[in-house]
Symmetry: C2
Subunit: 181 residues, 2 copies
């Protein structure tokens, strides 16, 4: 471990959280209409940076409050996205949670110009194809659709897939490499 490198500044990606907020029957997800650059005016998954001294899950709860007024709890980690090109400002690493709404009603705040419920089946693909979604969030949202499909097809309630930036789209093969082998 080259632990020394971490002591020097700007040598590590900046960790952030993004969080998928779905409605009760998982037919819609809540996206943010961005007030500021980058991707000003476009849609994104809500999220923000993790501060020193707080856990990723606490950063998620704080940012959810700040951006949407909602109280969220994590259900699962969808993936970790760390492609150096995913954010035009700097190299960021996103821990992406799948969450459930515990309390509150959505209300746009902070750098969210507006919040928008998007239908996963009918609307999301169109928004992605017309390039209305910023960052690498089209990839994250496609991964979430696969996660949803996987969790719906499984008999036990603990199923999930996990994803990362360079994971191949054809993951069925990779998924065969399993603990049960």
């Amino acid at each position: 471990m080259i632990r020394e490198e971490a002591q020097d500044t700007h040598k590590n990606p900046v960790p952030a959280v993004d969080f998928i907020i779905a409605n009760e029957n998982n037919s819609k997800i809540l996206l943010v209409r961005r007030k500021n650059d980058p991707f000003k005016g476009m849609l994104s998954i809500p999220g923000g940076f993790i501060n020193e001294g707080e856990t990723a899950e606490d950063a998620m709860r704080r940012e959810a409050k700040e951006e949407t007024s909602l109280v969220l709890e994590p259900i699962a980690i969808l993936g970790v996205y760390s492609d150096p090109r995913r954010d035009p400002r700097m190299h960021t690493l996103s821990v992406t949670f799948i969450t459930r709404i515990v309390q509150g009603n959505e209300d746009a705040r902070d750098d969210a110009a507006a919040l928008q419920w998007v239908k996963i089946e009918d609307e999301l693909d169109g928004l992605i194809q017309s390039k209305q979604i910023g960052f690498d969030h089209p990839k994250i949202l496609n991964d979430y659709k696969r996660w949803l499909k996987s969790s719906r097809s499984s008999v036990d309630s603990s199923s999930c897939l996990t994803f990362w930036s360079t994971k191949k789209e054809q993951t069925d093969e990779a998924m065969q490499v399993k603990a049960t082998e």
Copy 2:
């Protein structure tokens, strides 16, 4: 999103990777006998920091080569561990991968004094209880045991649990909150 905070140094946790290396039938995992502080002489899961410009999965592959001479590929993300107290030197955030060995034979290098295959069923609990494992790796290893159990009990090959620092031990209830509801 308080994006500005990320520009200031030392305001964010330092991202790192840890990686679970199991043998073919998942009866043993490979731990590192630490050459240097912290936890010098103790065992830990292999890992290291993520450099700016590389993905988490590339950092995993690089550190695996550097510490163990093994070529690894990620199978899944076990969890993200970001308790500010998990590393005595600084606030770190670990993306913990479950991996498979693609190539090579284990050979201790870098700051690994030695590598040690530990039997998951017979040895691991004893090492944890006698406090021979550093960082928050006892928690990570216990989570991995739960992941293994979950993946073995599932009919489809895509099952996995995901974990984070503050996730409650009694996750059965949390796991009921599912996409299928």
